[in-house]
C-alpha cells in the first residue's frame, strides 16, 4: 500500500492509541503480566553451555539493513553479549554487507553491551565481521566461521531467506545449540526443524520486553495484544455479518482501492 485510506487510518490510529496508552499505564507503575517464552528463557543457558565448553557464541542478525526487524535482533544481541561478558565468553557477529550502516551500529551495540556487562576489555573489533552483500556468499562465510571457530551456540535473529536452512543445518552439523527468531513465515519451518528453540511471528517483537522488563516494552506488548483483540473482533463480527446479511455493496467499495476509478 503506497498511501493510507480512511479505513487504514482508523485501524492504524486505534492500534497506535492502544500501544501508547499502555506504555503510559506501564510507566505509571501498573503491573502488567506477560507469559514466559521458552526460547528467550534459554538464552542464558545456551551462552552458559558455550562457556563451559570453552567455545564462542555466534550471533547472526540476518539479511536486513538498519530496519525495525534488525533493530529487534540487535536488542537480543545486546542481551546475549551482556550475558557473555558476565561469563567471560566471546560473541562473534557476522554482519551482512547489504546495508553497510548496520556494521558501525552493530559494533556500537556490542561495545556498549560488553561495557555494561562489566567486561569492556573483552570487546574485540575482529569479532564483528563485515561480510558479503550477496546472500549465498554471506551464508558460505558464516558456515566457514561456524566450523573454523567451533562455535557451541548459534543465535539466528532477524530477516532470513533461503540461506536460513544452510546456516541452521550447518549449525546442527557442528553440534551447536541453536535459538532462532524471525517473523518471516517462509523460513519458520526450516528453523523449527533445525533449531532447539524458535521464536516466531509476534513473539519476535516481544523478546525485548522479556529481556529488559522495561515498562515501555511491557506496555507496548500489552497494547499489541489489545490491537490483536480488536483485529480478531473485527474479523469475527465481519464474518458473522457477512454470513447473516451478506456483504453490502458500500462495505465492499470501502475496501476496494480502485473503487470509482479504472483498474490498472
Amino acid at each position: 500500500m503506497e498511501h493510507c485510506n480512511l479505513q487504514t487510518g482508523i485501524v492504524l490510529g486505534l492500534l497506535s492509541l492502544f500501544i501508547l496508552l499502555n506504555i503510559i499505564r506501564a510507566r505509571r507503575g501498573v503491573q502488567l503480566f506477560i507469559r514466559r517464552l521458552p526460547g528467550v528463557a534459554h538464552i542464558e543457558e545456551a551462552v552458559g553451555r558455550a562457556t563451559e565448553m570453552g567455545r564462542p557464541v555466534l550471533f547472526c542478525s540476518g539479511l536486513g539493513g538498519v530496519d525495525v526487524l534488525t533493530l529487534q535482533a540487535l536488542a537480543v544481541l545486546a542481551h546475549v553479549v551482556r550475558i557473555a561478558a558476565r561469563l567471560r565468553n566471546r560473541v562473534i557477529v557476522p554482519v551482512f554487507g547489504g546495508d553497510p550502516t548496520l556494521f558501525p551500529v552493530t559494533q556500537q551495540v556490542v561495545r556498549e553491551a560488553y561495557a555494561s556487562g562489566g567486561r569492556p576489555e573483552l570487546y574485540d573489533e575482529s569479532d564483528i565481521r563485515f561480510l558479503s552483500d550477496q546472500q549465498f556468499a554471506y551464508a558460505a562465510s558464516v558456515v566457514g566461521i561456524m566450523s573454523r571457530e567451533k562455535v557451541a551456540t548459534n543465535f539466528f535473529f532477524g530477516d532470513y531467506a533461503a540461506e536460513s536452512l544452510l546456516l541452521a543445518e550447518s549449525g546442527q552439523h557442528v553440534g551447536a545449540v541453536q535459538i532462532a527468531g524471525t517473523p518471516t513465515t517462509d523460513q519458520v519451518p526450516f528453523f523449527l526443524a533445525t533449531c532447539d528453540y524458535t521464536i516466531i511471528g509476534e513473539e519476535y517483537y516481544a523478546t525485548s520486553a522479556y529481556i529488559t522488563r522495561e515498562p515501555t516494552h511491557l506496555g507496548s506488548l500489552i497494547g499489541q495484544d489489545w490491537g490483536k483483540i480488536l483485529l480478531g473482533l473485527l474479523i469475527v463480527v465481519g464474518l458473522a455479518w457477512a454470513v447473516i446479511h451478506g456483504v453490502p455493496n458500500w462495505f465492499s467499495a470501502l475496501w476496494d482501492p480502485y473503487a470509482g476509478g479504472p483498474r490498472p
Binding site: 545486546a78 573489533e125 540461506e163 536452512l165 529481556i211
Partner: protein, 262 residues
C-alpha cells in the same frame, strides 16, 4: 528531485556533489565534537522529523507535496551507507591481516581473500574505464561469471541435501504434534505428485465426493488450515512491527540496543 536540488548542467552538479560532501563531513564532525547531552536530543529530533516526513506523506492523499522529496530522502540513506562501507572493508581486511601476521588458523584463506579482492577490484575498474580492452572484460567475466556465480549456485544447491536431513529430523514421530505434522505433510506431498493424484483418480471431479481427492485435501490443508495460521502469525508480526516503529519514532526505547538512554 525538484527545485534548486535538481542539477542544471555539469557545473551545478559538481557544486551539489561538493556541497553535499562538505555538509556531510561537517555534520559528522559536529556530531563527534558535540557533548553527549546535546547529541541525544539532536538524534531524537532528527528521528522524529524523519518519521514525521514519512508518516505525513503516507497519510496524505497520493502525489501530495511531500511525495516528490521521497526519492531524495531515500538517497540520503544510500549516501550514509557509503560512509560506512570503507569501515566494513577496513574491518574485514584487519581481521585477515591479523591472521596472516600471526599465521593463525586458516591464514591461507586470508591470502585468498586479499588476492580475490585485488583481482576483482582491478578487473572491475579495468572493464569500466577501458571498455575496449579485451583482457579487462575477459578477466571480469572469468571471475564473476565463471567463478563467483558457480560458487553461489553450489551453495544454493546444498540446500537440496539439507532439506532432506532437516525433513528427516522434523518428521521423526516423537510426539502427537509431530505425528500430526508428518501426516499433514504426507498428504500435501501426495497431492503434489502424479502418483498421489492417481490414487484417488477414480473419484469424478464433478461429483459431490470430489473434495476427497488427494489434491483437493492437500489444497484444503494449504489454503485453509495453513493459510489461517500464517495470517494469524502475520497479523501479530505486523502489530509488533508497528509498536516497535512507534517506540523508535518517539524515542521511547530504553536500554534495549544501547545501554545509554537515547
Amino acid at each position: 528531485m525538484r527545485g534548486w536540488l535538481a542539477p542544471h548542467g555539469r557545473g551545478h552538479l559538481w557544486a551539489l556533489i561538493v556541497g553535499a560532501w562538505v555538509l556531510s563531513v561537517g555534520v559528522f564532525f559536529l556530531l563527534q565534537v558535540m557533548p553527549p547531552r546535546w547529541r541525544r536530543p539532536m538524534i531524537m529530533l532528527f528521528t522524529f522529523l524523519g518519521g514525521c516526513f514519512y508518516s505525513v506523506e503516507f497519510f496524505l492523499p497520493p502525489n501530495n507535496f511531500l511525495t516528490s522529496y521521497k526519492e531524495g530522502f531515500g538517497n540520503a540513506w544510500v549516501v550514509m551507507g557509503s560512509f560506512a562501507m570503507p569501515l566494513g572493508v577496513l574491518n574485514l581486511s584487519l581481521v585477515h591481516v591479523k591472521k596472516i601476521a600471526t599465521r593463525s588458523g586458516s591464514w591461507g584463506g586470508s591470502i585468498v581473500y586479499f588476492t580475490a579482492m585485488a583481482a576483482m577490484v582491478t578487473f572491475c575498474f579495468w572493464q569500466q574505464y577501458w571498455p575496449k580492452s579485451k583482457a579487462g572484460g575477459q578477466g571480469f567475466e572469468l571471475l564473476f561469471q565463471y567463478a563467483y556465480m558457480p560458487l553461489g549456485a553450489t551453495m544454493f544447491s546444498i540446500l537440496a541435501f539439507y532439506i532432506v536431513s532437516a525433513a528427516y529430523r522434523a518428521f521423526r514421530i516423537s510426539t502427537a504434534e509431530a505425528g500430526l505434522m508428518a501426516a499433514a505433510a504426507f498428504v500435501v506431498m501426495l497431492g503434489q505428485v502424479p502418483l498421489g493424484m492417481w490414487l484417488t483418480h477414480g473419484i469424478p471431479v464433478e461429483s459431490r465426493w470430489a473434495g476427497l481427492r488427494v489434491e483437493q485435501i492437500a489444497h484444503w490443508i494449504l489454503a485453509g488450515i495453513n493459510m489461517a495460521a500464517v495470517r494469524g502469525v502475520l497479523f501479530g508480526a505486523a502489530v509488533g512491527s508497528l509498536a516497535m516503529a512507534l517506540r523508535i519514532w518517539l524515542s521511547l526505547e530504553r536500554g534495549a540496543y544501547f545501554d545509554q538512554k537515547v
